[in-house]
């Protein structure tokens, strides 16, 4: 079977890859492009570990088909840091111990970034709603929420 040729922009770089018609975007990012930051947790859109932003929309890449990416602009967790400089969200997750095993962390970071891009000064309730599509099975959510609050402050003060 012939594979589908996809051209898109990922984290600012022009990317081309080949995929199968029924391959999920998550699998293509991981297996064809080599970006393994997005994780498969549930594979059914419940856990958010595979969160990415495509053309400005936060979505679960396990529920999108890879060929949908053609012509789009995608951001993944790999695009958050600038070189060795961590994004304030990453720095605050680290310093606030907002992770234990870390599998959910890329999804939380991408969702939190999408939230702050849309709403730079969210209330605690807005943060909890904004991250409601991301599940963590170790930390509990309080440290994650506090890390996002601290990161928002850092970004707004800089």
């Amino acid at each position: 079977m012939s594979r589908v040729h996809v051209t898109c922009t990922i984290n600012g770089d022009p990317i081309e890859f080949l995929c199968d018609g029924g391959q999920t975007l998550l699998d293509a990012l991981r297996d064809e492009v080599g970006l393994t930051g997005a994780k498969e947790g549930c594979g059914t859109g419940d856990c958010g570990a595979c969160s990415i932003v495509m053309d400005g929309r936060l979505l679960c890449s396990c529920l999108a088909l890879a060929p949908e990416a053609d012509g789009t602009t995608i951001s993944t967790v790999e695009g958050l840091a600038s070189g060795d400089d961590l994004h304030p969200l990453q720095q605050c997750f680290l310093e606030g111990a907002a992770l234990q095993c870390g599998v959910c962390t890329p999804g939380f970071l991408v969702a939190a970034k999408a939230l702050l891009d849309r709403n730079p000064d969210p209330t605690e309730t807005e943060i909890r709603y904004g991250l409601a599509g991301n599940l963590c099975r170790c930390t509990g959510y309080d440290k994650i929420v506090r890390a996002v609050q601290t990161a928002a402050q850092t970004i707004n003060e800089s």
């Binding site: 079977m1 589908v4 199968d20 018609g21 029924g22 391959q23 999920t24 594979g43 059914t44 859109g45 958010g48 969160s51 929309r57 936060l58 979505l59 679960c60 396990c62 529920l63 999108a64 088909l65 060929p67 949908e68 053609d70 969702a111 999408a114 939230l115 709603y129 904004g130 409601a132 599509g133 991301n134």
Partner: protein
């Protein structure tokens, strides 16, 4: 997984209909938020996944002043961000916003919610009380039917071979009219309805009910209209005995199942309570609107 399937992204309705008409095992999708999990759970793989999101008409929101037209694949996030729809149909927009997380809101749509035909879907009761019409395209051309006639049972629709929902039409509501949607779920967010209740109320100049519609989700194989509740409201103030009659009629109209989310008796009771509250909320909104005009 899913590697045997082909992917197609038509840019016109005609192209989509041709694709579906030429292959009975092709499936359309908008967000795939239900379709991909269903395939993963063991449903037969389609031969072709037909992505409807590259068809402009299916993702557009417009209004000509008297009728709103909303593309069937329009993400609910866009619907919730639309000021015109939010003002005209607050309950329908709230129902749309209740579907899943932000990640899901980027992909979920009215067309998918209706055509997936889950009895517990959140938007169909609100589409129905607002008398939404579904524009359906197929090999025989286009037809327009009440949204209430699309789902016929759990997972079953009246869509024929090769047919897709293209868009929804909603007439601008008359003066002093508003809707509301309430649902009960086992936790506070991100879950599937135990019961959903939609109501729309039009008040006359004296504050009595001139027109009413009540519809319940998750309490029967398809959305249930409650004509007895509607009749009890007409001509009366939406309070006291009229609301008690709404509650009794709504409970009586249900035909629920027992499952992990709730028992038959619980669903019946909650359906009455939510219907009464949804009518009250819609009436309150209609009154506020009257005050402004």
């Amino acid at each position: 997984m899913l590697t045997a399937m082909r992917y197609a992204s038509p840019t016109t309705v005609a192209e989509a209909v041709d694709l579906l008409g030429s292959d009975p095992d092709a499936r359309v999708y908008a967000g795939a938020t239900d379709l991909i999990p269903q395939i993963r759970a063991g449903r037969p793989e389609p031969t072709v996944m037909v992505d409807l999101k590259r068809i402009e008409r299916l993702c557009a929101i417009s209004s000509n002043g008297s009728t709103y037209t909303v593309g069937a694949a329009t993400p609910t996030a866009d619907i919730c961000a639309d000021a015109g729809l939010t003002a005209a149909f607050p309950g329908l927009v709230e129902a749309s916003g209740l579907i899943g997380s932000d990640q899901i809101q980027s992909r979920s749509s009215w067309g998918g919610n209706l055509a997936n035909a889950s009895p517990a879907a959140d938007t169909p009761p609100s589409l129905i009380v607002n008398e939404a019409r579904a524009v359906i395209a197929g090999p025989g051309g286009e037809r327009t039917v009440p949204a209430a006639e699309v789902a016929t049972g759990p997972g079953a629709t009246s869509l024929g071979p090769g047919e897709i929902i293209v868009e929804f039409e909603l007439d601008q509501p008359p003066a002093r009219t508003a809707d509301a949607y309430l649902r009960l779920i086992p936790r506070t967010e991100m879950d599937i309805a135990v019961v959903g209740a939609a109501a729309r109320v039009t008040l006359d100049a004296d504050g009595n009910v001139a027109a009413a519609a009540v519809a319940l989700g998750a309490v029967a194989p398809t959305v249930v209209r409650v004509p007895d509740a509607e009749a009890a409201l007409i001509g009366n103030e939406p309070a006291g005995d009229a609301l008690a009659a709404v509650q009794a009629a709504a409970s009586a109209a249900t035909n629920p199942i027992d499952d992990k989310r709730g028992t038959v008796a619980y669903r019946r009771q909650v359906a009455g309570v939510l219907a009464r509250r949804a009518v009250s909320m819609a009436a309150e909104r209609a009154r506020e609107q009257g005050g402004q005009s």
